[in-house]
């Protein structure tokens, strides 16, 4: 047989025999135990505890998930073990939610290093939602109400519905990483608690080092989203000045929904002080008025009152940020884009610079629709 003949045969035969020996990476779905929710907590000694909720694929099992807790026993061992028990030893290939306890965020130094595994292993997801849990994580992972879906679906559903009302932020691992690394911004995470039921009504703010610094109410979170420009549908319920309410004793509250809200942020610099001009244009639809008023006649007053109220709330929120040295909106990003030279000098202490900045907020509420009744 000629040499080429042998070669030709080899070219066909060898690959096929070798290829049959494949299947190295095969992992059938039902055999993989992949966690859908990971929880990170610390015990009193400061060791890391990792919780994990894994779905079980068995039609006869009543409980559809099983939970794993890994922690260390003694402080001494803990110091050795806490590093051994890294997050990566769980299979996070399909991780949906990462729950971090508030305690960990408050006390554990550089907890964000535990996130490394998600970014280093190319197969891991980075769209898992990160949530802050206010309380001990064991409560959460023991929480299996019979009338609710499994924990990951519960958490996702809760987050989605809150997000649709813009009452909190949605932060994926990827976004968290970006916010942690961006010098002109500090991260914000949704925060929930277990109080008979799961309740997501706060938004946690982290400081430059990723430590827990403050939290926002749903209302404040809405304004944060408005400033971040990543939502444009809001529902506000705000008080109006007393003089608009003719009937004594009536609640001076009205509700409206706003869509197509536009926010403009302009930055300028005077010496070593940044100045921000924020302009919010908000066409609104009235949804509820709890006091008698002739909307048609007093339209201008009503608009002015609403504008003033929103403006007041926005200013309060911004000064809260400044006080706490937090910039979840990312004002620094604007500063970098417009005043790069100066920003570069101060970027490592941006939050201090931000605290000094001047803000000029203008809100323009326009009544677009007063509803179906007078």
């Amino acid at each position: 047989m000629s040499v080429t003949g042998i070669l030709r045969r080899a070219l066909i035969v060898i690959p096929f025999t070798l290829l049959i020996s494949g299947c190295y990476d095969r992992l059938d779905m039902e055999e993989a135990s992949f966690s859908l929710v990971l929880g990170l907590d610390r015990d009193e000694q400061g060791n890391l505890i990792v919780y994990s909720s894994i779905p079980t694929f068995n039609q006869h099992a009543k409980k559809k998930t099983h939970e794993i807790v890994v922690s260390s026993i003694s402080p001494r061992e803990g110091r050795l073990k806490s590093d051994a028990y890294s997050v990566g030893s769980f299979q996070p290939r399909k991780l949906q939610v990462l729950v971090v306890s508030k305690a960990l965020l408050l006390h554990k130094k550089e907890w964000d290093r535990y996130l490394d595994v998600f970014f280093r292993d190319g197969r891991n997801p980075v769209t898992s939602r990160v949530l802050v849990y206010d309380g001990k994580l064991n409560e959460l992972f023991d929480y299996h109400p019979p009338d609710k879906p499994i924990l990951p679906l519960q958490l996702l559903g809760m987050l989605e519905s809150t997000d649709s009302r813009a009452e909190t932020v949605v932060t994926t691992l990827q976004q968290l990483q970006r916010e942690l690394l961006d010098k002109g911004q500090t991260p914000a995470l949704p925060q929930f608690a277990l109080d008979q039921e799961l309740k997501l009504n706060r938004t946690a703010l982290l400081d430059r080092d990723g430590r827990y610094a403050a939290s926002l109410t749903s209302k404040e979170a809405m304004l944060l989203r408005l400033l971040q420009k990543n939502a444009d549908k809001f529902r506000f319920t705000i008080p109006v000045p007393k003089h608009l309410v003719e009937e004594p004793g009536a609640a001076n509250v009205l509700s409206f929904s706003a869509d197509q809200t536009k926010t403009k942020i302009k930055v300028s610099r005077k010496g070593d002080k940044f100045r921000y001009d924020i302009y919010v244009h908000m066409p609104v639809n009235l949804t509820e008025i709890l006091f008698p008023i002739d909307v048609v006649v007093e339209k201008a007053e009503l608009e002015a009152a609403c504008s003033a109220e929103i403006r007041k709330q926005l200013e309060a929120l911004i000064s809260k940020f400044q006080q706490k040295r937090l910039d979840p909106v990312g004002f620094g990003v604007y500063a970098r884009a417009r005043e790069y030279g100066y920003f570069k000098q101060v970027q490592d202490r941006w939050v201090d610079e931000f605290a000094k900045a001047e803000f000029n907020v203008k809100v323009n509420v326009v009544l677009a629709d007063i509803g179906a009744i007078e």
């Binding site: 010098k183 990003v333 604007y334 970098r336």
Partner: protein, 367 residues
């Protein structure tokens, strides 16, 4: 005299071979590479590098126009004698071999890293060699058709990136010229590596059906390359915060990870698998050119025996040795340096040399 007429390729195939060879892994690597050198201004050097490349590729065409009916080696053999042609063929064979090897190893590394971490590299190499052999054995025409087809079915890629739109922050790009011109200019030579491949015209030119469009073809090919690079760098720089851009390897893939559709999540797995079509253009045409050179050197028409040897060698070599990430970097560096020499400098030198040589010869004959 039309020695290569039987295997002619269309202009589109010519464009796609050139585009595919250049763009392949540059699309994945370039954004991070430029971010470390020039920050968010990294898209400017790409533009400048693109223009330089256009000029360099026009030089190659000008060179080939001196001897339109043959390859560069035929030309050298014609002017300077058989051995000059053979030496050049050997040099180009080695160059294209290195090119193909680099592309192949990069693909294997990426697939191993992202899709099949536990599968031995040589099995991946073996799998990749199957289509390589099926396509390259049938000659240039089929390679051309394949290039055309591979690009065509990869047209979905830019559209997938549209899904990242909501996560883009155009503010990250501002201000342009953050650090002035210096980092931008110093990053330009780094882009050349990702534009390599146009020198294949020294072989392709005689096969081209409409030779008068050759320059236009190369400019178009280069233009599409520049556009796709610009597209992906801009997307990446708007997605990643400026300091993050330097940390993330392969940002083109990282960006895709943010996409969640109702029927599919973690789209990047699908992307990497199907991007193999484009990746394959970084080694299938060069491998063909390599065996073309070697069989030209041996004076043989049939290129398949050589192809078989090389395909088997590639597969077997990965069994014994797979370059680590650092070594791959070194190989790329070597390819980059030799690429600048072979593609950017050599054709120009040859053009001047031949011009002088012919002048001198003519002068002598005349007197």
């Amino acid at each position: 005299m039309k020695k290569y007429a039987l295997n002619d390729i269309t202009l589109l195939q010519y464009i796609m071979i050139n585009f595919g060879m250049a763009v392949s892994f540059g699309f994945i690597e370039l954004p991070a590479m430029m971010a470390t050198e020039a920050g968010t201004d990294g898209w400017i050097p790409i533009l400048i590098g693109g223009f330089v490349t256009m000029f360099a590729s026009l030089v190659v065409i000008r060179l080939m126009q001196r001897f339109p009916e043959g390859t560069f080696f035929d030309m050298l053999a014609h002017y300077l004698g058989k051995w000059a042609g053979k030496t050049a063929a050997l040099a180009f064979a080695l160059y294209f071999l290195l090119y193909a090897y680099d592309g192949l190893i990069y693909t294997i590394r990426l697939i191993k890293g992202r899709l099949l971490p536990e599968t031995p590299a040589f099995l991946i190499a073996l799998m990749l060699m199957l289509p390589t052999y099926t396509i390259a054995r049938n000659g240039l025409r089929i390679v051309g058709r394949y290039a055309e087809f591979a690009v065509m079915i990869s047209l979905w890629i830019p559209f997938v990136y549209l899904y990242t739109l909501e996560n883009l922050h155009p503010l990250y790009l501002l201000p342009v010229f953050k650090e002035g011109w210096k980092p931008i200019l110093s990053a330009v030579p780094g882009t050349f590596f990702y534009y390599l491949g146009f020198v294949s015209s020294v072989i392709l030119y005689p096969f081209l059906k409409h030779k008068k469009h050759a320059s236009a073809g190369l400019v178009i090919a280069n233009g599409i390359t520049v556009l796709s690079y610009l597209f992906i760098t801009l997307v990446c720089y708007m997605f990643l915060s400026p300091d993050e851009a330097k940390l993330i390897h392969q940002p083109s893939i990282y960006v895709l990870k943010s996409i969640e559709l109702s029927f599919i999540e973690q789209v990047e797995g699908l992307f990497i698998a199907f991007y193999a079509f484009i990746f394959s253009l970084s080694w299938i045409p060069p491998l063909y050119f390599t065996v073309f050179c070697t069989s030209w050197m041996m004076g043989k028409q049939e290129h398949r025996p050589h192809l078989r040897v090389i395909v088997i060698l590639f597969a077997v070599s990965t069994y014994f040795y797979l370059p680590t990430y650092d070594e791959l970097e070194n190989i790329s560096q070597l390819l980059g340096v030799s690429g600048i020499a072979v593609e950017y400098l050599f054709p120009g030198i040859m053009l001047v040399f031949l011009w002088i040589y012919v002048r001198l010869r003519k002068g002598r004959n005349w007197t």
